[in-house]
Amino acid sequence: MSTITGTAPAVAASSRPGAGAALRHTMTLAWRSLVQIKHNPMELVDLSVQPIMFLLLFTYVFGGAIAGSTGDYLQFALPGLVVQNMLFASMTTAVGLNIDITRGVFDRLRSLPISRSAPLAGRIVADTLKQVWAFALFLGLGLVLGFRVHMGIAGVLGALALLLAFALAMSWMAVLVGVTAASMEKVQILMFSLMMPITFTSNAFVATDTMPPWLRTWVEVNPVSHLADAVRGLLGGGPVASDATVSLLWAAGIVVVFAPLAVRAFRNRA
C-alpha cells in the first residue's frame, strides 16, 4: 500500500505562480480539453460535420440559384461560411466553461495552487486550436470542390490570423455567457438565437442588393460582412485593408465591452 500523505511533505509555495508556471498550467488545461477527442472521436466528427455539411449544402443547393454556378458561388460563400463557423465555434468555450462550473470541476481547479487565469486560458487555447482545425478543413475541402486561393500562403495565414483574433475577442462574450447561464442547454439556446441572425444578416452568403434598405444599413455595419469581405480578399484577392480594419475595430470593441463584464461575472460566480 502506498502512502498517500506525509512522505514528501508539501511545502507551501511562497508566492503566486510566475509567468512560466502560468503558461505551464494553461498548457496542461488545454491538453485536458483536447485529450477528450482521443476518447471520444465523435467530438472531432462534431467539430467537422458542420463545416462539411454547410459547405456541401450551400454550394450545391443554393449555389446555382444564387450565383448562377456552383463554382462561382463556392468562391463567394466559402469565406462567409468560414466566418459563420468561427462565430458558432467561438461559443463552445461558453458551453465547456458552463459545464465545468456547474459540475464542480472549476471549484477543484480553483482550489489548486495554480495561476488564476489558467482554467480560462487553457480552455481558450484548446478552443483556438479547434478553430484552426475547422479552418483547415474548410479550406481543404473547398480546394477539392474547386475553391481557388489567389493570395498564396500569406493570404491564408492572414485570413486565419484575422479569424482567430476575432474569435478571441468573442471568447470574452462566451466567458460571460458561460459563467452567468444556469445550464448548458440555456447557453446553447442563447448562443444559437444570437449567432444565427447575426451571421445571416450579412453578406456572408448572398449579395446584399436585394435586401430592404433598413436591413442593408445593418448589414453594412455587421462585423460578419466585414470579416467575410476581408477573408474573401485575403484568400481570393481584392481589397482587404478597410474591411480588416473594421473587423479588428469590432473585435476591439467587443473586448472593451465584454472583457470587464466577463471578469466581473467570473469573480462573482467564483
Binding site: S2, T5, A10, V35, N40
Partner: protein, 320 residues
C-alpha cells in the same frame, strides 16, 4: 500553533440570506472535525471560505497557519478539497484526471503518472483507471474525486458531504478511506447531514443550524450534554401503548414518541424509571421490554435545533 484550521466570526451573506452568521472553528492538527447540520445550515459556505473559493464578508480564517484571504495561494498548496458534487472531468479517464492534477501541481509527466497509479491502487480503482470517468458508478466517482484531492499530499483535507447519495456499501468503503487518512495524520474537516457518519468518524463535532454553531464537543460529550438517557418501553400488549405513552408523558413531562410498538422519551433523572414502573404496575400494564440507552446524535440534534436532521430513512426515500 497547534491548530490546522482556525476561524473566527466567519460571516457570509448571499442577498438576503445569511449563509454564515458568525462562526468560530478550531481544528487541532491531525484531528477530524465533523460539521453536522441540515441542508442550508451553512456547512458548504464554511468549507468554501476555508478552501479559498469564497471570501468571507466578515471574520477571518487561517488554514495551516496561512490567512485564507491574504495568503490564499499558500493555503491552496496545503489543502485538498472534495466537494458535494464529484468534481472530476467526466470526459477524462481516471488516470488522466489524476495526472492532470499532478501536472498542475508541478510534477513531471513520469512523477504524475506514478502518483496517479499509486492513488488508483490505494482506492481500488486500478481496474477502471483507463476508463472515462463518465462510465463510473457514483461510488467509484466519489473515490476518484477523493483521490484527486490527495494528489498534492494535503495537510488539511476538506470533505464536503463526501458520502451524500452513496449506497450504504460505498459509504462504508469511503469511511474506511477517511479513517486511513486520519491514521496518517491528515487534518480533516468533514461536513455531513448524516449523524451516524459524524458519530463514526469525528473526533469532535460542531453542529450548524441557520449559519451558526449551536453546539460543539466530542460525540460523547454532545450526547451526554443534551439528551442524557433515552428510555425505551415496550408493553407486552400493543393495546396498552397509549396508556404507556400517557404515563411516560406525565412522569417525565415530555412528549414521548410512539413508533414500532414502543414508547421512546428522553430522560434526565434515573429515579423516574422506578416511578414509571410503579405507575404501570398499578395500572396492570406489563412491560415486555424496558431499556435505557445513551441518546443518539439524531436525538441530540432534535434537542438542539427543535427539528430533525435528515436521517437515513428520509435519505433512502429521496434516493428511491
Amino acid at each position: 500553533m497547534g491548530h490546522a484550521i482556525q476561524a473566527e466570526g466567519l460571516a457570509k451573506r448571499y442577498g438576503e440570506t445569511r449563509a454564515l452568521d458568525g462562526v468560530d472553528l478550531e481544528v487541532p492538527q491531525g484531528r477530524l472535525l465533523g460539521v453536522l447540520g441540515p441542508n442550508g445550515a451553512g456547512k458548504t459556505t464554511a468549507v468554501r471560505i476555508l478552501a479559498t473559493l469564497v471570501r468571507p464578508d466578515e471574520g477571518g480564517a487561517h488554514v495551516a497557519g496561512f490567512d485564507v484571504v491574504r495568503q490564499a495561494h499558500q493555503v491552496r498548496s496545503l489543502i485538498g478539497l472534495t466537494g458535494q458534487y464529484a468534481a472530476v472531468d467526466e470526459a477524462l479517464t481516471g488516470v488522466e484526471n489524476l495526472v492532470m492534477i499532478g501536472r498542475l501541481l508541478g510534477l513531471t509527466r513520469a512523477e504524475a503518472r506514478r502518483r496517479a497509479d499509486g492513488l488508483l491502487d490505494r482506492f481500488a480503482l486500478s481496474d477502471v483507471g483507463g476508463r472515462a470517468a463518465k462510465t463510473y458508478s457514483g461510488g467509484l466517482r466519489r473515490r476518484l474525486d477523493l483521490a484527486a484531492s490527495l494528489v498534492g499530499r494535503p495537510q488539511v483535507l476538506f470533505l464536503d458531504e463526501p458520502t451524500i447519495g452513496l449506497d450504504p456499501r460505498s459509504r462504508t468503503d469511503l469511511w474506511g478511506v477517511v479513517r486511513g487518512l486520519q491514521d496518517e495524520g491528515v487534518t480533516v474537516l468533514l461536513t455531513t447531514q448524516y449523524l451516524e457518519e459524524a458519530d463514526q468518524l469525528a473526533d469532535d463535532i460542531v453542529v450548524f443550524d441557520h449559519g451558526k454553531v449551536i453546539a460543539s464537543g466530542t460525540p460523547d460529550a454532545l450526547k451526554a450534554a443534551t439528551g442524557g438517557q433515552v428510555l425505551e418501553l415496550r408493553p407486552s400488549e400493543a393495546a396498552h401503548l397509549d396508556l404507556v405513552r400517557r404515563v411516560v408523558a406525565d412522569v417525565l413531562d415530555v412528549t414521548p414518541e410512539v413508533s414500532h410498538g414502543q414508547v421512546t422519551a428522553p430522560m434526565r433523572e434515573f429515579a423516574a424509571v422506578s416511578a414509571i414502573v410503579r405507575r404501570l404496575d398499578d395500572l396492570g400494564v406489563v412491560a415486555a421490554e424496558l431499556s435505557l440507552r445513551r441518546a443518539s446524535l439524531n436525538e441530540v440534534f432534535l434537542a438542539l435545533t427543535g427539528h430533525r436532521a435528515k436521517d437515513e430513512e428520509q435519505d433512502a426515500e429521496a434516493a428511491a
